[in-house]
Symmetry: C2
Subunit: 454 residues, 2 copies
């Protein structure tokens, strides 16, 4: 490892330069005007992977922005690692509040600023750098390595989902490694062992055929907005628990050990309130904030609309009221089952004086890693070596649907080890990655190959 780490250390500067070259390509997947930039960014990566010594590196057409596939399969009998990431980025304009040009990356001390530094080019580049250093120093990798780097993550990975499902054999592996989630904080190398899933629907309550004059008819017909409020109020009980029948049936409860580990993390409530701007924390009674946002399911209204919503007043009984409602799920909740429960709930709590319909928007499965699996043991050792600190187990309240797809199609554990800090500002202005964490991340991936080889 010593020689590999030394090679990584010595090549840091030139690699940062190379990464900046990639960051300057505006691979904004959501903007059709940048379609060619996306392809250029993909080709750039194919070339670098080939230069790094991968046996195969190629563009894969998906129907949307191309993906990049690469493989080095020279370690028969050894585990196969699939490295997943994405080269596409969110849009960015300096006028959004950036202190520098978002597509002119700059390094200020330890801070690397620019769109894509953390999400996710910088972290994919750490994977590339690790592979290259190990190959340069040892002439071979201790494990088999495959890369799948997509260009549509910011738009929902639509074609990538299909790509994975259609290429189960080609992508077959023993472990998937992803660096696209934040660390708990500086000095806390982190393994993200859980992601929440999602069931996102919309309830629509229809009353009168058109908006009615609230003077002439108010009090004599069901007001869809009044009705909807009463229906939505029943989503939770007074303890902040979701009151949808059956909702908690399949929830994997936190073990005493897991709760202790979460409690041991230095959660800073004041910082949390500063970040959210909320007057106070809130949620399911009997759980800490970290438990609530990482390991407990919840139900949020994401949008509410009815009647007159402009300035001032209009005296109507609205004809319709609707709410977008989504549940964040944890293992082993089935998104489809929760969607069924949600629909049944709304239909059951609605009074007969209105018509209720339910729209299913989308779902995503929760993910909970089996942290006793050998891959997690190896990852912990690798992080310890690279960061000189014990890894902490964290979770992420959001969803990375592709992780559930990997788990389902490839039947392999997913190790989520990201190297950005909580202030990395992905999707916002001044997105950043610390140079030191890029560096340690590269070491960690290299160390992981060695550890996984046993």
């Amino acid at each position: 490892m010593k020689h590999i780490f030394k090679h990584i250390d010595q090549n840091l500067d030139s690699r940062l330069e190379q990464l900046c070259e990639w960051l300057r390509i505006e691979s904004v997947s959501g903007d059709p005007a940048h379609a060619e930039d996306c392809r250029t960014a993909a080709r750039w990566l194919v070339d670098r992977l080939a230069e790094a010594g991968m046996q195969k590196a190629e563009l894969v057409e998906t129907g949307g922005h191309p993906a990049v596939y690469a493989e080095w399969l020279g370690a028969p009998g050894k585990p196969t690692v699939l490295l997943y990431g994405h080269y596409d980025v969110q849009p960015a304009e300096k006028s959004d509040g950036w202190s520098t040009e978002p597509f002119e990356p700059v390094i200020q001390g330890d801070l690397m600023l620019g769109r894509g530094t953390a999400d996710d080019k910088g972290q994919v580049h750490a994977h590339l750098a690790a592979v290259e250093s190990v190959l340069k120093v040892r002439g071979s990798l201790p494990v088999n390595v495959k890369f799948i780097v997509e260009g549509e993550e910011e738009g929902g990975s639509e074609h990538t989902e299909a790509l994975i499902r259609d290429n189960g054999e080609r992508l077959a592996c023993d472990v998937v490694v992803i660096s696209d989630s934040p660390m708990f904080g500086e000095g806390y190398p982190s393994l993200c062992v859980g992601l929440r899933g999602l069931a996102y629907g919309e309830v629509v309550v229809d009353g009168p055929a058109g908006d009615l004059h609230s003077g002439s008819f108010g009090g004599g017909v069901a007001n869809p907005a009044n009705v909807l409020a009463r229906m939505l109020a029943k989503l939770h009980d007074d303890d902040g628990k979701v009151a949808i029948p059956g909702f908690y049936d399949d929830v994997v409860e936190l073990t005493g050990e897991q709760r202790e580990a979460l409690a041991a993390l230095p959660f800073d409530k004041a910082e949390f309130l500063r970040t959210t701007g909320s007057p106070e924390v809130a949620g399911e009674r009997g759980y800490t904030t970290l438990e609530r946002i990482w390991a407990r399911p919840c139900c949020d209204i994401n949008g509410l609309r009815s009647g007159y919503i402009e300035e001032g007043a209009k005296t109507i009984v609205p004809r319709r009221a609707s709410a977008k409602v989504s549940c964040r799920l944890v293992a082993d909740q089935s998104p489809d089952r929760v969607m069924d429960q949600l629909e049944r709930f709304f239909k059951e709590v609605a009074p007969p004086e209105v018509k209720v319909s339910f729209i299913r928007h989308h779902t995503g499965r929760a993910y909970l890693g089996d942290t006793s699996a050998p891959a997690f043991v190896s990852a912990r050792k690798a992080l310890r070596l690279a960061f000189d600190a014990d890894a902490v187990e964290i979770r992420e309240g959001g969803s990375i649907p592709i992780v559930a797809t990997f788990a389902e199609v490839l039947h392999a554990p997913c190790v989520l080890m990201g190297f950005g800090l909580p202030d990395q500002n992905i999707h916002g202005p001044n997105e950043n990655l610390r140079v030191s964490n890029y560096h340690r991340g590269t070491r960690a991936i290299a160390a992981l190959f060695v550890e996984l080889a046993g």
Copy 2:
């Protein structure tokens, strides 16, 4: 009366022609392009009032569209009747769904079609016709008569309110008569003896400083939309009663006699459901639909807004949720007091994890006529004479704020006797007035003068 009625009968055709002349003037008060038309319509009325024999008839400048004032005060010792109406109309285009040109009034059998036929030129013209016939036949009126006809009713009577307050002495009277409300139905001459008031506010619930990612933060902070729904759900109890503390304190309950009278009206539930398009009637338990919309206060959400309200899905915890909430009031509820109650209610039911603010939009007092007053007795007799049917007492769920102003400033009862039918379509396409009801209305006003003189 016989001679007066005969004169009214004989002059019907020429009067309809005259009315059509007035209807052709596009006195749309809300459109600055029609300001001159409004003035023309006012002058037209001044001239006709003078021709009819009023002692004084003049334009009154208001700061907005002018009002028309006229008086005939030749009956010393007799009561003074103030006839109120408005000459301004709502905008109308044939393309809105009219079967004829809205400002080219036509008479098809008994149906007079055109903007302003019912609201309110046609009914003001019936007042004018009654005065003229009585003066032509008798040479004098049996009571003193004043007209105040404004040109800003469709825009809220802003300047008229001030005009009334500033001219209490000039407008002094024993009874105000207004024909600007519908009859219960064909063959049901109606006295509208109650109007509901209004207290219209808006509650705003603020949580996070900005919209949050519902994955990263959902379940850990109070969601303003979830909170607002729970707050709004508490506005009513399970019996459909408004649950705001103190809300019913000042409500004048319906007497047994009043309930019997309302129950005796041939309310057509199927027709009501067709009109509203609601699947079913609903409201405060223990009351009929007519009681609910006419004589009971209620609380309606008029608008709801939070978070993402476009098509599709966005996974956010919204930073804010707001609801426009208005209460329809009955005598003797104080709009200001209800507004206070509403604000206190929202502040008290809100949890500490959000900030709640309350905006006061506007208020209007309810009106309940003392139907035992002599003016109502006279009005009933006059309607009986004119329509050959007993008058029914109805109420109106909406507010006519000017009525409360009259009651407050002039301390006179307001007799609301309108001659349009429920299908008169004021503000909509194909506004209409039945010729027969215009005719009977003219008779009723003339008869009222005689009855009031005693």
